[in-house]
Structure formats: C-alpha cells, structure tokens
C-alpha cells in the first residue's frame, strides 16, 4: 500500500465514524500523511491534505490550500470540487453559494457528466437564487444517476415552489422514505415538510419537521443553531401558507386583496379599454388602441404570476437551503462519489 493510499484509508476511517463531524484525530493524522506525499508534488495529496484539514475543523487553512491548488493546477477539477464541498457544508451556505456555484461550473467544464457535480451545482444555484439553472442541473444529475435521491429532492422542491407544480410534493415524501431505507440521515424529512404543508397537511408537516431534527439533542448548544434554522424556515413556510401561488384560492390574497394596486390597475385598464371600444374615433384621435390595453393586461398578469413564484421561491427554497445544507453537513459525511470526484478514491463500477 502506497503512502497516498494509506492516507486515504485514514481519511475514510475518520469519515466512517461520523458523529456530527469526522473524528478529529484521524483527520489530523490523514492530513500529516497527505502532506508527506504532497511534498513530492502529488496534486491528489495536496487536495487530500486540504480536505482532511477541512473535516478536522480548520476550514480557513483548507480553503487557503485549495485556492493554492487551483492556482497551481487550474485544469484539475478536484480542487474546485473540494472548494465547493466546503462552501456548501459551511454553517452559512447562502453566503458561500455563489462561490460554490462558480467552482462547480469550473469543475463541470473540466469533468463533464459527473452526477455529484451537477447535484451540488443544483444546490449551490438554488441557494444563490438561480432557480432555473438549479432545476436544469438537478435534472441533469437525475439523468446521469437515476437513483440520486438528493437530486430528485431538489428537482421536486424547485418544481413545487418555482414551477408551481403541485404534483412534485409526493416525490419529496418518497425521497424522505427512501433515504430512511438507505440508512441516510433524517435530514431529507425537511423536504417532506414542504410537500406536506403545501398540501395543507399541517399536523403531518409538523411531525415531519420533528423527525428531521430528531437526532439533534435538545439543549445541546452546539446544534441549537441548526434546530433554530429549521424551525425558522418552517415558520416562514407557515407564513407562506398552504397551496401554491397562482392557484385560485390564494391569488387574490397574495396580490393584496380586492383593493390592492394590482386589482385596481386591472380594473382601470379594463374600464379604459371599454371606453375605447365605445368610442373608437376618439381612441384613434388620441392615439390609443384597445389591443394595446389587451396586451398590457396579459403582460401584467403573466409578470405578476411569474414574480409571485419568484418571490415564493426566494423565500422558501433559499430558506430551505439555509436550513437543510448545514443539517446534512452535520448529520452525514460527504458521500463516496464526492470523494471520488475529488480524486481521492476510485469507485469500482
């Protein structure tokens, strides 16, 4: 066994015994072993040393080293992927979402058709508020790996709250159940909360929320921020209310009621249009056309509906990313395909 393989083995041992974080002693040991190999100019070991330090808790050094790797080897995807992993596993993923997205776009250019890159890019873009790009990446990840539950979850969440597709809710529940069967953490139940609340199943949504944060011990100050983030997101989900924007029963309330500017602008435009139709000569003399009013009415409604979905997605999907990504980072080690994409291990098959 080479020194590099020995270091990787130590790293994986430290990740295998994950308990709200890697085993710091093993991570430090792996970092030292990687350093020895990296001194001989092995770029895989340079990435490994930074990754081991990052999982040991020294994020600043990890990021600095990874930036050095990307500067020395700009055509090496592993450095970019590792940077994005630490950005998305940060306690404040929204603050690092854009840098993660840029790193992952660079990685995707260097290593196309890698499912975990597309999936992480979907997470990063959703956190940054680029929902259409996020949806495309999530779908690309699902195309590359049909069993990618995480990508399914992000795709369904984006369809539900950005696309206004109510049927996507059932997928979120399926993903949470599948994750349980695969012995993943309880974090995906947070996605199920969104689906259940949208359907108006409030009690079930609350139960799902409790299930998602159940592994986080009550009264533990270390995990309290994670619990509070999830609960804050849930509170905003309740403010958002059941159903989806653009649906009949919510529409009038969402635009501000019957005396809102939207409703009154529409009414005024309709009144003007009718006046024009009653007196076409005057309309022609004044240079106004009822067809223009029709067009403007259509544009007004379409833009308002689109804007409402955009606002909803900004609140709910970004809020979800803010709560979910740190929860996953706490409860789960990085998946093996990510370690593989970082060029630390080779997946067989």
């Amino acid at each position: 066994m080479s020194e590099f393989e020995s270091a990787v083995r130590t790293l994986r041992e430290g990740l295998r015994d994950w308990n709200k974080g890697a085993v710091p002693g093993l991570m430090s040991s792996a970092a030292v072993q990687f350093d020895v190999v990296a001194a001989r100019g092995d770029r895989r070991a340079q990435v490994g040393a930074a990754v081991a330090r990052g999982f040991a808790g020294d994020l600043d050094t990890a990021r600095r080293r990874l930036h050095e790797v990307t500067a020395q080897h700009p055509d090496y995807a592993a450095g970019y992927i590792a940077l994005a992993v630490f950005a998305l596993r940060d306690a404040d993923p929204l603050a690092h979402a854009e840098s993660a997205a840029w790193a992952l776009i660079a990685a995707r250019d260097l290593a196309p058709d890698v499912g975990c890159i597309e999936r992480m890019l979907a997470q990063a873009l959703a956190s940054a508020g680029e929902f259409m790009g996020a949806l495309q990446c999530a779908r690309a990840a699902m195309t590359l790996d049909r069993d990618d539950g995480e990508a399914r979850m992000w795709s369904a969440l984006l369809r539900l709250y950005f696309g206004g597709d109510g049927s996507a809710g059932s997928v979120l529940e399926d993903v949470a159940r599948d994750a349980e069967l695969c012995q993943r953490s309880s974090a995906p139940w947070l996605g199920a909360v969104a689906a259940l609340y949208a359907r108006g199943e409030f009690h079930e949504a609350r139960v799902a929320l409790r299930r998602a944060i159940a592994p986080l011990k009550i009264g533990d100050p270390a995990v309290k921020p994670l619990v509070d983030k999830a609960r804050r997101w849930y509170r905003e989900l309740r403010g958002f209310g059941p159903g989806l924007p653009m649906t009949g029963e919510r529409w009038l309330r969402d635009v501000g009621g019957a005396s809102s500017d939207y409703v009154r602008t529409r009414a005024a435009m309709t009144a003007l249009r009718e006046a024009m139709l009653r007196n076409p000569e005057r309309a022609q003399h004044e240079g106004v056309d009822p067809l223009d009013v029709d067009r403007a009415l259509g544009e007004l409604e379409a833009r308002t509906r689109r804007g409402m979905l955009e606002w909803g997605a900004r609140l709910i999907i970004r809020g979800f990313a803010e709560a979910y990504l740190p929860l996953v980072a706490c409860l789960e080690p990085p998946p093996v395909e990510v370690l593989s994409a970082m060029d630390l291990i080779v997946l067989d098959g």
Partner: protein, 409 residues
C-alpha cells in the same frame, strides 16, 4: 436711500420703516449692484450709448439695456433696500408689470431675475423674514414674495431656496415652505421632494395648513408612485379644509384617473382662484388658460401612459409582504425545544430588504416603456408648475389688499 417708485398699487407713499444697519449689512458702498458690466456683455452693446443703469423695476416692454443690466447684476433685488413696505410695493409693481398686457413674452423670466441677486443670494429675503419675526414688517409681505415666485413660474431650485429663506419667520409658515418646495419635475427629483413632503407631514402634523400638505403628498402617491389608495384619500381630503389651489391639485389626480367631470371642476376652481388677482394682473388669465388647455389635452393618452406605468410595478411584491407579515406573528412555544426568537431566516431577511425597497417611492416598479413614463413625468411637472401659479395667486390675492390698506392714509 432709493427713490420712491410709483407702483399703482397704493395711492400714497408710506414712510420707510426704520431699518437697523445690522439688518441690512450689504448697504455700504460699493453697493452689490454697482459692479462693472463685463466686457463680454459690452461687446453686444455697440448701438447703446451711455452707462448701463441700475434697474429697480423693468419697463413694459423691457429694453435691451435693462436686459444687459440684469445679466450684469446691475439691479436691485427685491427687498434689496431692506425689509420695508416700500420694497413690498416695488415687488407688487414688478409683478404687475410682468403680467401687463404690453409686457414682452419673457417678462416673467426677467422679473424672476429680480428676486435674487447673484452677490446677495437669499440674504434680502432672510432679512425680510427676520423683520417679520421681529414685528418690523407686516407678515403679508412673505405671502407676497412666495406668491410672486409661484406666479412667475420659478424653478424648483429657486423656489426651494427662497422658501427656505422665508421660513426663518417661524413654524406657522413652515407648511407654506414645504408646499412652496414641492416639485421635482425640473431635475427628475420627485423622490427627494416626496421624502421632504413626508418629513414635513410628520413634523407639522395638525398644524395650520397641514391638510394641504397631506393632499400634496397623496397627489404624489397617485400620480408618480401609482398607488391607488391615494385617490380615495384625495377624494376625502379635497372635501376638507384645504385651499382652492390644493383642491385643484387633487382634482387633477381625479382627472388622470378617468373622472370625466373633473375637467369642468378644474376650470371652475382656477377661475375662482384667479378672479381676485385678474384686475391687477390682467395677463394671468390667458396664460393659465393656455397652460390648462395643454394640461387637459388627450386625456385617454395620458391615462393610458399612467396605467402602463402602474402596470409595470412589481405587484408580486405585495405577496411577499403578506407572507412575511404572517411569518412574523409570534409563535407559541409548541414543543419541547422552547420558544423561537422573532429573528427571520437569512432568506427571509433578504426578502425583507427587498420588500423595503419595493415599498419605497418610485422604486417598486421599472417602466420598460420609457415614453409612457416620460409623458407622465412631464405632465406632472406641468401640473406642479400650474399649481404653484395658482397657489401663488392665492397668496398674492391675500397680500394685495393688505398692501393697499397699508398705503391708504
């Protein structure tokens, strides 16, 4: 001291009030208006013989030499000799000549030049305000100057600085100052003027004239921020204790919103405001008639432009206001993890910031049709200018009888 001038307003000349030297510190030789005529101006005066005189009042029509004197700063600004009744009479005479049927087309502009002097700026007006405050000069002289500025069509900047100078007289005039400063069309600064009106409204609540201030702010809401809630408030407020000129302004918003009967009401209101000053200022009525005809031409086209601007607002932003309001409601401690503090999530915070921007005047929309926005903005600028003329006419109408009474034995 300056020689007395015949104004035609009073029958006899009242004696000059005693002015303390400290009140008029610029009256020491050389006087500010006795500067040399610049060489550049002299070059165009080849046909003119003699010295360029110091102008106190313009002829009707005004001469070339007088125009040169104005350009060269060789003129005595209003109240340049101090805050006296004589100076008030001179101001009234200047106004009368500007609106004389024989006056040249640029008479209003030339008369406006007389309000401030480039060397003294607003000092004479400040001295006037101080004299009024000390009881050395009658309060109607402030109305006269402020009214003159409006009637002559002063720019936003000139009106604002003059009204600020006149506001030294005390808080009872502050509303007049705020009203006088309402504008924004000259430099596209409606937002700043709206902010000033809001500040004035909150600081001068329930004071004299504050109802007018509220109406003007609501007019901005309807016409420039395209908020329909303002039109209901305007309808209610215009029936309250507001001046006729303010009612006229409120009616323009109703006209813009499609009220067909507003046109007649606008005409009637303007007529009632101008009737008292029409005998003294005969050219004011034709001038206003022309301006009103321009304002009220093509109502559908303007209404359509206004609706285009209203439609371009981000109406979806109303949704996030509703959601976040609902989310900020206090949640009882429902589970064993205890109560959650009211702090929103980071995503919620950024949405709150966006909401605040969305609620700000003129920022919650982007009008892709620039032509529509320009048309509404230009119309608003014309309405405000006409409203200032009417507001000025009301003030002058209040001041002129006082001036006549002061002049009577």
């Amino acid at each position: 001291m300056n020689p007395p001038v015949a104004t035609g307003v009073g029958d006899s000349l009242p004696s000059l009030l005693v002015v303390s030297p400290s009140g008029v510190p610029w009256l020491v030789p050389p006087l500010p208006w006795q500067g040399e005529v610049p060489a550049a101006l002299r070059q165009g005066m080849s046909g003119v013989t003699g010295e360029v005189p110091v102008v106190e009042m313009l002829s009707t029509p005004c001469t070339f030499v007088e125009v040169v004197a104005l350009r060269a700063g060789r003129y005595v600004p209003l109240f340049g000799w101090g805050p006296t009744v004589d100076e008030a009479r001179r101001a009234a005479a200047c106004l009368r000549r500007a609106f004389d049927p024989q006056a040249d087309p640029r008479a209003l502009e030339h008369t406006l030049d007389l309000v401030m002097h480039p060397k003294l700026q607003a000092k004479p007006l400040e001295a006037l305000a101080r004299a009024v405050l000390a009881g050395e000069c009658p309060a109607w002289s402030l109305d006269l100057v402020a009214g003159m500025l409006g009637m002559l069509g002063a720019s936003d900047r000139a009106r604002e600085s003059a009204c600020a100078a006149l506001d030294l007289a005390g808080t009872s005039r502050s509303v007049l100052r705020r009203l006088g400063a309402a504008g924004g069309g000259d430099l596209g600064a409606y937002r700043e003027h709206y902010t000033a009106l809001c500040m004035g409204e909150s600081s001068l609540r329930d004071g004299p004239g504050s109802a007018d201030l509220v109406v003007v702010r609501q007019w901005y809401d309807v016409v420039l921020a395209r908020r329909w809630s303002g039109i209901d408030a305007l309808r209610a407020a215009s029936d309250g204790p507001v001046d006729a000129s303010t009612r006229w302004l409120a009616t323009t918003a109703a006209w813009l919103a499609g009220d067909e009967r507003a046109r007649g009401r606008l005409m009637d209101l303007a007529q009632s405001i101008l009737d008292p000053v029409q005998p003294s200022l005969p050219r004011v009525m034709p001038l206003m008639a022309r301006e009103m005809a321009e304002l009220l031409a093509n109502p559908w086209q303007l209404r359509w432009s206004h609706l285009q601007c209203a439609a371009a607002r981000d109406h979806a932003a109303a949704a996030i206001r509703t959601w976040l309001t609902a989310a900020s409601e206090v949640e009882p401690a429902e589970d064993e993890r205890g109560a959650l503090d009211p702090e929103p999530s980071q995503a919620g915070r950024s949405a709150v910031a966006a909401r605040q921007l969305a609620g700000e005047f003129l920022l919650d929309w982007f009008v892709p049709d620039r032509e529509a926005r320009t048309r509404v903005d230009a119309w608003a600028a014309r309405v405000l200018r006409t409203w200032h003329r009417l507001l000025g006419a009301e003030r002058v109408a209040r001041a002129l009888p006082e001036l006549t009474a002061e002049a009577s034995p």
